[in-house]
Structure formats: C-alpha cells, structure tokens
C-alpha cells in the first residue's frame, strides 16, 4: 500500500501490527472450537483474514478521500445509520443471535449496524460542532440537538439490546461535546437525568444485574455468574510473566466464553504472558496519544474533532475491553478493536484509522 508523504506512519504501523496480531490470536483462540463447530480449524482464521484485507482496502480508501466529501456525507450517513438501526429491529431483516438482534444481512454480507453508527455519529458530531463554533455554548442550538440524536441512537441500540455499544456511543458523544466547549452544567444536568435511566436499564434486566453482582463478588457463584471472570483471571494468571507460548492456551478449550471475540485478550494474557499484555496495551496507548496529537494539530476544527472522536472511539473500546477481561469493570459485550474476531468491527475500525491517517496528512509541515 502506498503511503503518502506526511501520513502518521506510527499510526499506520500500529494499526497494521495490531490487525496482524489479531488474525494470529483469532486463529489460536478459535481453532479448536472451529473444529468442533465447523469441522475446519481455519474457519475463523480465513474469515478474519478476509476482513483484514477488506479493512485495509477501506483504510486505503479513507486515507485518500477528500475530507470535504466526507464532511458533506455527514448528514446522509447519519440518516443511513438510523435506517440500519431501525432495520435491524425488524424481524426478517435483522438477524437474532443469542437473544440480541445485532446483525443485518444485505447482499449476502452480514454486518453490525452498531459499528457503523459509532463512526457515523462521530462524523456527524465533528461536522456539526465545527459548523456551530461558538454556538455550542448555547443550550438550544449547541446542546439539545445532539441530545436528541443521541437519545434516538441509544434508544435504538438498547432495543437490540446492545448496552456496550450504547455506553461507548454515549461516552464518546459527551466527550466530544465536552472538548468542543459545551457548558459543564448542561452535561451535569443530563447526567442527573440519565443516571436513573441507566440504573433502571441495568438493574431491571436480569442478566445485566447478575453481571454487576458477579463483578462485585465473582466467588459467590464461581461456576455460574462468576464463571467468566474467574476463567479470565485463570487465563491471565496462569500465563504468568512470559506466557505459556503461542497456541498453548488451555483456557480457550471452552473454559473461556467467546475466547476469540470478547475474551481474546485473556488468551493473549495466557499465551503471551504479562509481556504480551504490556506490549499490546502500550500499542493501544501509543495509538491513542498519536491520534490525540493529530487532533490537536489538525488544520481545522472539523478534522480535529473527527480525529479526536475516532481516537476516543478506538481507545475507549480498547480500554473498556481490557478492563472488563481483567475484572476491573463489570462484564459487558465489547470487542477489542483490531484483535477480536468480527468483520464489521475490524473493517470500520480500519476505515476510521484511514480517516485518522487522512487527517494526519494535513498537519502543518513541521509536524509531519
């Protein structure tokens, strides 16, 4: 792939490395399950490989696209995302897996609209916040519209239900508002309104409440609600400092739930040890810092907000996933960007990295 002069090479390098590492880890963590379920140990590896190639293509495209075209697409994208989120809820179009309707199939391709929505919302907010400039401090003009959009999206996501995506989306949107200069008291106000809702959303849904309880005391029921997190700890702990070696994980042998998706980092911890964990965490941190640097130095507010939103989106999910699998925050379904198995997630992540790289191309000369 041609790298244009001025592109932030470290972001590109980190993204490529993490993606390749992800393909390897997906294979390691899924091969035995793949044999059991599909009779082909390469089942998930092949797919993740294809997703990576598609993702790299999307990244290359996004790197070259004129940012103005992207900016003009902000509203249409927002509309499209809304339609997709609605469509997912319609029986027949949306595909239900494990009680949640998160997938949609169009022209033979199955994907998760929620992943699109994240990047769509970031694009929309970057465009809108940059346009409104000083008016963001105005409640009716600079705050309320975003809350309405957010409320619609969150409502649609929770209807799936997909609390993990909803929380990510909410946090990223609020952080963008905060950075753009919204008055803190509005945010505080909305927080107070949202809190009872959040509490209701969690405590009123049985499996979510159980997850919270399991987080607070996993040993109370280690074979049931506490099972996931204890198995994850066993994976990390038995990996030790240097790991059991690539492919040597035993926890992936059906002890860890979804070892190739949400709990793939536990397999990393077991096979590659503390060293592997630190290296991957550091790569994410570096990626975030480079992304934020791009945002700070971007030539205009739109690209700055866009870079910030994208960086936050990836960084948030990475941090949240790591914190979940290590039992630092309650369990919720969140993929580890780049690494976890999943086409939509990988392709949208790489596409957004493409946008980030696009922004980095336009940094003032001395920062290139």
């Amino acid at each position: 792939m041609e790298v244009r002069q001025g592109t932030d090479n470290s972001i590109l390098l980190l993204a490529v490395c993490l993606t390749c590492l992800g393909v390897v880890m997906v294979f390691s963590s899924s091969s035995i399950m793949a044999v059991r379920d599909y009779g082909d140990s390469l089942h998930f590896l092949k797919r993740q490989g294809i997703y990576a190639l598609v993702g790299f293509a999307a990244m290359a495209l996004m790197m070259r696209i004129d940012l103005d075209i992207l900016r003009k697409a902000a509203w249409p994208v927002l509309g499209l995302c809304t339609l997709l989120l609605l469509a997912v809820l319609i029986p027949g179009i949306g595909k239900k897996v494990g009680g949640a309707a998160r997938w949609i199939k169009i022209a033979g391709v199955t994907f998760q609209p929620a992943e699109f929505t994240k990047i769509g919302l970031v694009l929309f907010m970057a465009h809108s916040l940059a346009r409104k400039q000083e008016k963001v401090k105005n409640f009716r003009c600079g705050f309320l519209p975003y809350m309405v959009v957010l409320a619609v999206f969150l409502g649609l996501l929770l209807a799936q239900p997909d609390l993990g995506s909803a929380l990510t989306l909410g946090i990223v949107a609020i952080a963008m508002l905060l950075v753009a200069g919204t008055r803190l008291r509005y945010l505080a106000g909305i927080g107070l309104v949202a809190l009872p809702f959040l509490y209701f959303m969690i405590m009123n849904v049985d499996y979510r409440r159980r997850r919270i309880m399991a987080f607070l005391n996993p040993w109370e029921d280690p074979s049931n609600t506490g099972f996931q997190i204890i198995q994850s700890w066993i994976a990390f702990g038995s990996g030790g400092a240097f790991g059991t070696g690539l492919g040597e994980s035993k926890q992936k042998l059906f002890y860890l739930p979804e070892a190739h998706t949400d709990f793939i980092f536990s397999v990393v911890g077991e096979e590659l040890g503390f060293i592997g964990v630190i290296v991957i965490a550091a790569m994410f941190m570096l990626l975030v810092l480079r992304g934020l640097r791009t945002a700070i130095n971007a030539p205009d507010e739109f690209s700055s907000f866009l870079a910030f939103g994208i960086t936050l989106l990836i960084g948030m999910q990475a941090f949240a996933n790591m914190a979940v699998v290590m039992g630092m925050v309650p369990t919720k379904g969140l993929a580890l960007p780049f690494i976890s198995y999943g086409g939509t997630s990988l392709v949208t992540t790489l596409a957004s990295i493409g946008i980030l790289l696009n922004v980095s191309r336009h940094l003032p000369g001395e920062l290139r």
Binding site: G181, I234, G237, S238, L253, F254, V277, V288, E301, A323
Partner: protein, 659 residues
C-alpha cells in the same frame, strides 16, 4: 476554517492524560494478576485442567542376607479405556471382551457413565496385553503397574507376608515395613477441556512415582529352605497338623530361619485358608513343658538357692504337692540339678521351684522375656500367658517349674534359650538387617540390641553343660545329636489345654526341642515344635531328630568345622546333597500358581517374574528349548501361560531387570 481554540487543546490533552492513567491501571492490574499472583492462578488452572488417576505404587524388593530376592515387584500391564476416544463402541466391546476374558456386559457397564478414563482390567497376563496392543484400538491402552511376586513361592511366606491386590502390605514384613517398602504411586495425569474431555492424542503421562525402599533381611534363604523342608518331613513322619521352627543367631538375636506349617503360596493367596497364613512362630503361644526347666534351673543357680552338687530327692517317681500328685516318667531317687535336666524330672524341678520361691521365679521368667513381646519386627506378636505370682498356688509353682500352667511363644522360647547360649544376655530378635532407598542409601540399619543381662556367665555355662547332657548317653534328647558337634538342648512335651473341657487334653500335645550348637561357641539356637502329632508324643522322639537334621545341614552350610569325632555311619551331609534335593519340591511349588490346568502335551508355565535359572530348570524338565531376550526377570512370554506349546513353535521369554 477555524483553528482550534486553546481550551479545546487543553481538554484534548486532559483526555490523553486520562487514557494514559487508564492504561497504566490496566498494566498494574496485569502485573498483579500475572506476576504477583501467578502461582495461585497456575494452581487453579492445573486443578481444572487435569484429571488425575492414582496408580499402584512400586514396592521395594525384599532380599535375604545374601542378597537373594524374596519378594519383588514386576511390571505388568493394566488395560485402560478412554471411552470418549473409542470409535466403534460396540465393536470394541466385543473385541475387548474376547481378549480380556470378560463378558461384553461387564465391559459396556464400565464404558457407560461420563468418565474419561476407566480401568478395564488391571494387572493382566502378558498374552492378554499383547492381544490388546495388537488390536490398535483408539482409546484403549496399557500402563505398566507393579505386581508383587514371590519368586520362591512358599519359602518364608509367613515371614514375608503378602500384599493385597492394591499394593498395601497385609501381613508379615510387607505389613510391618509397609511404610518403607511402599513407594509413592504417582499419578496418571490427563489434561482435559471444559467439557471434561481429554486433550491431546498422546498417552497419559505418569507423574510423581517413586520406588519404595528395599529390605535386607537377616534371614538366610538356604537355611530357611533347609528348615522348611525338614520341618515338613518331620511333620509328615509325626503325622502332625502344624509345626514351627525358629532359628536365631544367639550372640545377636538375628533371625536366620523361621518356618511355620501349614504353609501357603503368597502368589496364589486366595487358594489358602487364613489359618494357613498364620505365622505360628510369633503369633501362637503354647505350654512349653519340660523345655521350661532350663530357665528354672538357670534362675535357681543364679540365685544360689541350689548348688550343682546338691542331691535332690525325687521321691521315687511320685510326689504330692498342694493336694495333687505329680509324676516322673521314670522312678528316680536322688538327682543332682544336672541330672534333673538330663532326665527331665518333674519332681526335682518342682522341688527346686519351691526353693527358688514364687516371687524370684516369676522375676526370672519375666527377665527371660516371657509374658511380654520380644520386640521382633513382625506384626501380630503374641505375649503368652504368665500369671502374677500372687495368684500361684503351691501346685501352680510346681507346675510352672516344669513348664505347665504357663504359655510362651516360640520366639520367646528361642530368645530366652539364646540368653543361656550366649552367656546370659537376652537379645532382642530381629529380622530386618537394613533398609536401603532407591538411590542405594541406607535409611535404617538394625543393630543387635541387648534387652538385659539375665544370668551370670558362669551360670549360663553350667546350664549349657546340663543341657548338653540331655543329648549324651541316657539323656532324653539323644536324637538331637549332631555328628561332630557338641549340642545343648532340652526336650518338651506338653499336653494341650482342651478348649472344651478346659482341662488337659489326653491326646493333643506339643512335642518340642529347643537347643543350640556348638556348645563352646554357639552359632545357632533353634526351636522345633510339632503340634498335635498323631504318631508318638515325645519331643525327644519327634522334635529332636528334626532339630538334628536341620542343625547338621546348617553347620555344613555355615562352614562350621566339626570338632568332635563323627561316629561311623553318621556322616554329615554334603552341601551338594543338601541342595541337590532342593530344587525338586521348590519347582513343584513354583508351578502351583501357574499351570494348574492339566492337559495333554507340554504346557507353557506362567514365567512372570521368574529368573533365568528358574525358567531354564522348568523348561529342561519339559525337555523344551526356549530362547531368552534381555536379562533380569521375565516380563513377557510366548506362548501365554497355560497354553499348550505347539510342536516346533518358537518359545521365548522377554526379560527385564526388576524396576
């Protein structure tokens, strides 16, 4: 397009700082989990990943004083199944049932359930294991497990004891030294996934097995053999149901031989009654009868209540004590103490007992070790019965003086006699010389231990001399003589207490002889006791000849040079003669386990655990050629045990050093 405001930049940097903090927290958490708590989680992981199947521990070898093997562990195959790996269950069940001689129903019952691993049959014959291996069934395998084998079959069986099918020692030395002989069994470790299935295609790994310690005995296999053979002959001649021989080294208390009859073959334990397992030498007690007179005499001389020249009136064969009449078997008038022993006078003994007095006599009885365990390192030692002197009536004192109304164990009697033979020292009898671990390090070394000095040396010599007179012309034990040696001894004949009437039985007796030789410097002290002989009753006639035959061969074997003239026609047997006979009955016994099924034509014996020499002897007897592969003990054979050997078929055994 507008440049970014200063506040925006600051807020973005703030977010960057928050992220950095977040990742630092993640790193700290990872450090805590993976480095600080590694061990704890690792153990948890192991617990959940591994299924552990305990294995049979390897027992150490038991050697005699010359390093000859008396009990060995031989590795044999145990067949297991990992049911989940079986491809065609029905087919496998049929095949396994045929090969292992089990019913298909029994096998499918084992394969049922949710287990990953089941023992199908443990410790199978080599031929069966061979068949199983040839089938190459997925999920069926063999693991070597040790099986206890007694290469000499019945030899010293009571002493060695035996083990259960699981490897715990149940009797004899196997029980007494179980903790040392028994190794750690180790485990078969199988990895499993969350669904409980075994991981990996390889055979399960054996971990943590250690070999048990070896025992080296004071026992001499050859002396033991001689003792057993002669006891068996003696019992046959006397038409007796049971008997025992105990042979010690008087100066140390080392057990050189210890035989009991009826005997049993520990390799085929289930064919014998538990009463046959009994080590009569330490577990049974009996009335010693006249043999007890020597301890009375030793006590009386040591207390100087009687002098060697004193003449004691033996009342012409009949004497009333405490309202009861006691008799001698011949009418004696005045006898010296030496003559009382020589002729075994009950009346003379009763009179000396009276002179000694109850308390003194009782004290010496205890000092000679009666009424208490000798401390020999064998399980189940009886103590006999010695009543307290306060409860002795006058007639009891008289009866005990000639060995009635008291009971002793064979080992007590021999140990006490050894104290007379060795100049007055009661030695604790022992049988294990040393214990050696698998690295060859000695972990326990037994030393001769003196319990106490019982009588003065000169008294011991005087009593020895008196006992020697019994084997001289006119004595009661002339049959106990050994050509070329001075022999000291004492016969005993005691009526057995009838369990029904509580009184003495008129026809059930124990005939015994206890003695030692050479008198000048005794090399062995031995008791021969014959229980309930039907032909004759007297120790001098039944037990003394057995003593003589064993002692003569033992002196030859121990290379003790005769220092007396050997009377014409009484030549000592040569070593060749002693052991030429040795093999025939031994072979017969060794065969018992193996080829019991009779059939026409030569049959392949079960050679498992046999030595080169043993195999060769058996095959020579059958006039068959056999080829040997490897060295050590037989671990495999073809054809299998009990199988008729086809004419011209290859016959071989594979051998390996005992593990």
């Amino acid at each position: 397009m507008k440049e970014l405001g200063k506040g925006v930049r600051i807020r973005i940097r703030l977010i960057g700082a928050l992220f950095t903090l977040g990742f630092v927290l993640v790193a700290m958490r990872a450090f805590d989990l993976q480095v600080m708590q590694e061990k704890q989680w690792d153990e948890r992981a192991e617990r959940q990943h591994q299924k552990v199947i305990p294995l049979t521990p390897q027992r150490g070898t038991i050697f005699d004083s010359n390093g000859e093997e008396l009990a060995v562990s031989v590795d044999v195959d145990s067949i297991y199944v990992e049911p989940r790996k079986l491809e065609d269950r029905a087919d496998a069940t049929q095949k396994l049932a045929k090969a292992l001689d089990l019913t298909p129903r029994a096998i499918s019952a084992k394969l049922k359930g949710n287990s990953n691993f089941v023992w199908l049959k443990r410790q199978v014959a080599p031929a069966q294991s061979e068949q199983i291996k040839a089938m190459k069934l997925n999920g069926v395998g063999a693991i070597k497990e040790p099986r206890r084998f007694y290469p000499n079959s019945n030899l010293a069986a009571h002493l060695l004891g035996f083990t259960g099918l699981d490897p715990k020692g149940l009797e004899g030395l196997e029980l007494k030294y179980d903790k040392m002989i028994l190794g750690r069994g180790g485990y078969l470790v199988m990895e499993r996934d969350a669904l409980g299935r075994g991981i990996g295609a390889g055979t399960p790994q054996v971990q943590g097995a250690t070999r048990g310690h070896d025992l080296y005995l004071t026992l001499d296999k050859n002396l033991q053999y001689i003792a057993e053979r002669e006891l068996a002959d003696g019992l046959r001649e006397a038409d007796a149901k049971a008997g025992t021989v105990v042979m010690l080294e008087p100066s140390t208390g080392k057990v050189l031989a210890m035989a009991s009859f009826p005997e049993y073959n520990p390799n085929a334990l289930f064919r014998y009654k538990p009463s046959q397992w009994r080590n009569r030498a330490v577990c049974d007690s009996f009335e010693p009868g006249s043999t007890f007179k020597v301890f009375l005499m030793a006590a009386a001389l040591n207390e100087a209540v009687v002098s060697t020249t004193q003449k004691i009136d033996c009342e012409n064969g009949s004497y009333r004590v405490g309202g009861k009449e006691i008799h001698d078997h011949k009418k004696y008038q005045k006898l010296t103490p030496a003559e009382i022993i020589k002729y075994s006078s009950n009346i003379g003994s009763a009179k000396i007992g009276k002179m000694l007095e109850r308390k003194n006599f009782h004290r010496y009885i205890e000092e000679f070790g009666f009424g208490q365990q000798t401390g020999i390192d064998l399980p189940g030692e009886a103590i006999g019965l010695v009543r307290p002197p306060e409860r002795w009536f006058e007639v009891d004192l008289a009866a005990i003086s000639f060995g009635q109304g008291i009971s002793v164990t064979p080992i007590q009697l021999v140990a006490a006699t050894a104290a007379i033979a060795n100049g007055g020292y009661l030695m604790e009898p022992y049988i294990v010389e040393r214990v050696v671990d698998s690295q060859g390090q000695v972990t326990m070394q037994n030393q001769p231990r003196m319990v106490r000095k019982v009588i003065a040396q000169d008294v011991a010599h005087v009593v020895s001399r008196m006992m020697e007179m019994t084997t001289e012309e006119g004595g009661t034990a002339t049959n106990g003589r050994v050509p070329g040696f001075r022999v000291a001894g004492k016969t005993g004949t005691a009526q057995k207490v009838d369990p029904v009437t509580g009184g003495y039985s008129s026809d059930k007796r124990v005939a015994s002889f206890v003695g030692f030789l050479p008198v000048e410097e005794p090399r062995l002290v031995m008791l021969v006791a014959i229980d309930e002989p039907k032909k004759g009753v007297y120790g001098g006639l039944l037990a003394a000849p057995v003593f003589s035959r064993i002692a003569a061969q033992a002196m030859q074997y121990l290379k003790v040079a005769p220092n007396q003239d050997v009377p014409a026609g009484e030549a000592l047997p040569s070593l060749e003669q002693i052991f030429a006979e040795a093999t025939a009955p031994e072979r017969a016994k060794a065969q018992e386990v193996t080829t019991s099924e009779a059939s026409s034509g030569p049959q392949m014996p079960d050679f498992m655990g046999f030595s080169y020499r043993q195999v060769l002897e058996l095959m020579e007897e059958r006039q068959l050629n056999i080829s040997f592969r490897g060295r050590g003990r037989v671990i495999e054979q073809s054809p299998g045990p009990g199988v008729a050997i086809p004419y011209g078929a290859p016959v071989w055994v594979r051998m390996a050093p005992p593990s």
